[in-house]
Amino acid sequence: MRKWMVFLSVLLVLSFFLSACGSAPTATPAPTEEATEVSTPEPTEEATPEPTEEAVEPVVIRWFVGLGTGGNPEQIEAQQNVVDRFNAEHEDIQIELEIVQNDVAYDTLKTEIASGNPPDIVGPVGMRGANEFEGMWLDLSDLIESHNYDMSDYDPATVEFYRDNDGALLGIPFAVYPSFIYYNRDLFDEAGLPYPPHKYGEPYADGDPWTVEKLEEIAMKLTVDANGNDATSPDFDPENIVQFGYLTQWTDPRGQATLFGPGSFVDENGNAQIPENWRAAFHWYYDGMWSKWFIPNGPYQGSDLLAAGNPFNSGNLAMAHCHLWYTCCLGDVENWDIAATPSYNGQITSKLHADTFRILNTTEHPDEAFTVLAYLLDDAAPDLLLVYGAMPAHKSLQAAFFEGLDEKYPQGVDWQVAIDSLSYADHPSHESWMPNFAKADDRIKAFQSLYENTPDLDIDAELDKLRDDLQAIFDEVK
């Protein structure tokens, strides 16, 4: 009997809250009410006794950092300095900095949006991060015009990177990260092989065109087992590899496949597809990992041999295709340089990452938010780019940026390769939007985990299954 009384009491309490909160989920929030409240300054009666002078309430623009870089201690300090400088110079607008660690930033921002308390500006954020908030970004076209914002210092192709299919400009370039081949000079010297070409269009030292096939050929010679045999030798022992030839590092299947040309898992009608060049790419990667052995598979990538997840920095990987931001993480390998991305079927594709700051379309202060955005992109850019380790999208700032990198890496790196790589950016981007983005992205990554960790797969069958699963995921939101 007593148990029933307890049960009924709980039900009673529940029903009380049900009735009290009945309309909560359907209530329309006022997105920036709290932001407006925050902007209310402390009472100023004492400070301003003159009743005729109206106190000017500054508009508070909240800047959310966390979807990309920006969470390291030195970055936090630099960002705060940038904010303080702006706030000291502007009485009408004040920036409020909100820094969230990357691993929880996506959930935090979603929760803020859901609770009607979104920030105004978000960034730096890349294409992939922005895609998770598709439909939430403000079109900047009108604001650029009304503020007479000067776009002449940007590469037009980089600006187009931020235009969506409807022609809306959802961002202004801030930091760009072209990709290219990082190579370890010592390993090439040891093998007696010439370095890969630095200039796009130039052949390899032996006169052969610089293609994916040529890269594979020299990568196999640079893949060595514990007995000193390379991967072209019949005595090669794949169970005891001590040095690998090549890896498209730190990217997902879309990024890996883009070495074989740009593409998308979404066709023009919004349906799932596997582009033929990408199908060829996945065969190449899979064979490279499990039968030709010049690409480290999952277990090798996670091993100490390859620095448990930072393969090129281990010194045991001869070549890695990666972005300019990888200069962040090259503290252990010393004698490296960069080279051109090879072509596939006559086409060169150097995938591009580009970070910027974006304005959420929920902002109640688009003009003020744009003023802050312009400040971050221009006046604050040198300080921010320095701590983010990013290549400026502003052409006028690029030379100084590479001088800084030369100080950090005195072995002499041919940074012109990075600048030239911008001309071979991927369109569509390998990070482009897909329907039901987060779920589709998960399914694609599950495919990556499968082929990187499972021998004896039927790759074609797995690709067909991937396409069917993606179609089902896309259909969920149709």
Partner: protein
């Protein structure tokens, strides 16, 4: 009669009650704000299409989420993963601490305090640290265990990347946290009246008989307590594989536990309405399992105090 009795409370008793409520209020407020209200809210969400990115477009959808759940292949897959893991980890999670407790309860064992501390210590290591330690320990090419096996001429398995070996790997890693269960079982064993063992000895019972017919029944309330906790914990399991294998259920969906799918639906996929539905279904499954355990407890759990 009740109301009049209340009125008879003395001034000091009322003051005492007020102070009591005051001191309880942090917990009460915390419970209301952080537990009860979110619970009720999540129940309401489960009948809506609440998307985190479109909070102003919430519609009542009735039982649509619950119907969708019945046909969602990922629900079936994640629940199977969870049940498969329960079948492996719960027996091990019960037997291993029982074994340790029995060992530490042995009369002739030397250095009991040291061993007790040793076995309990991993329990106080933060889960995240333990995850990284185990990830390295069970590494395929450079893990200590596989290196040890290689010395014996055995090729160690690909613990973290094989759908077959990932569960034993997770169970092994989970054994680090059995210190608490071991302590409660040990305490319970040490509370068994010694005259029972003495009487059994006089009757010529073997140690196995003694353990089977005296120790186990006498500690069965603690075994029951641990079983309930382990079962509930395993239904909600996902932190360790999340840290070691990431958020995608690798390898091959083998770590896509129900709770992980729930979290991903609600937050990364932003579908809070459906995520809340998954949460309530999990709640009812756990409730049913717990009620089943309590319902069957009278057949196998022995409470000396209930004997008249």
């Amino acid at each position: 009669m009740e109301p009049s009795k209340r009125h008879k409370l003395s001034a000091s008793a009322r003051r005492e009650a007020r102070w009591g409520l005051l001191f309880l209020s942090p917990w009460l407020i915390g419970f209301l704000v952080f537990t009860l209200v979110p619970m009720v809210a999540s129940l309401l969400f489960s009948f809506t299409d609440f998307n985190l990115l479109r909070p102003d477009e919430v519609h009542f959808v009735g039982l649509k989420n619950y119907r969708h759940l019945l046909h969602d292949p990922l629900v079936e897959q994640s629940m199977l993963v969870t049940l498969r893991f329960i079948l492996i980890s719960v027996p091990v999670g019960m037997l291993f601490p029982l074994l340790l407790a029995t060992l530490l309860n042995a009369k002739r064992l030397k250095g009991k305090p040291f061993l007790r501390t040793l076995f309990y210590m991993p329990y106080i290591v933060p889960m995240i640290s333990a995850a990284y330690i185990w990830r390295g320990f069970l590494g395929t090419t450079d893990g200590w265990l596989n290196k040890g096996l290689a010395v014996l001429g055995i090729k160690g398995p690909d613990w973290w990347n094989s759908p077959r070996w990932i569960y034993p790997a997770l169970v092994l890693a989970g054994l680090w946290g059995v210190g608490n269960a071991m302590l409660t079982m040990l305490a319970s064993m040490q509370g068994v009246p010694t005259e029972l063992y003495e009487a059994a000895k006089v009757d010529g019972a073997t140690p196995i008989h003694t353990f089977r017919h005296i120790t186990l029944p006498m500690i069965s309330p603690v075994l029951f307590y641990n079983l309930v906790l382990i079962l509930i914990g395993t239904f909600q399991y996902f932190l360790l594989p999340w840290v070691i294998k990431g958020p995608n259920g690798d390898p091959g969906g083998a770590t896509m536990f129900y709770n992980l799918y729930l979290f991903k639906t609600a937050f990364p996929y932003s579908d809070m309405g459906y995520g809340a539905t998954l949460a309530w279904v999990l709640f009812f499954i756990i409730l049913l399992v717990t009620l089943f355990l309590f319902g069957t407890a009278k057949y196998w759990v022995y409470y000396p105090s209930e004997e008249v």
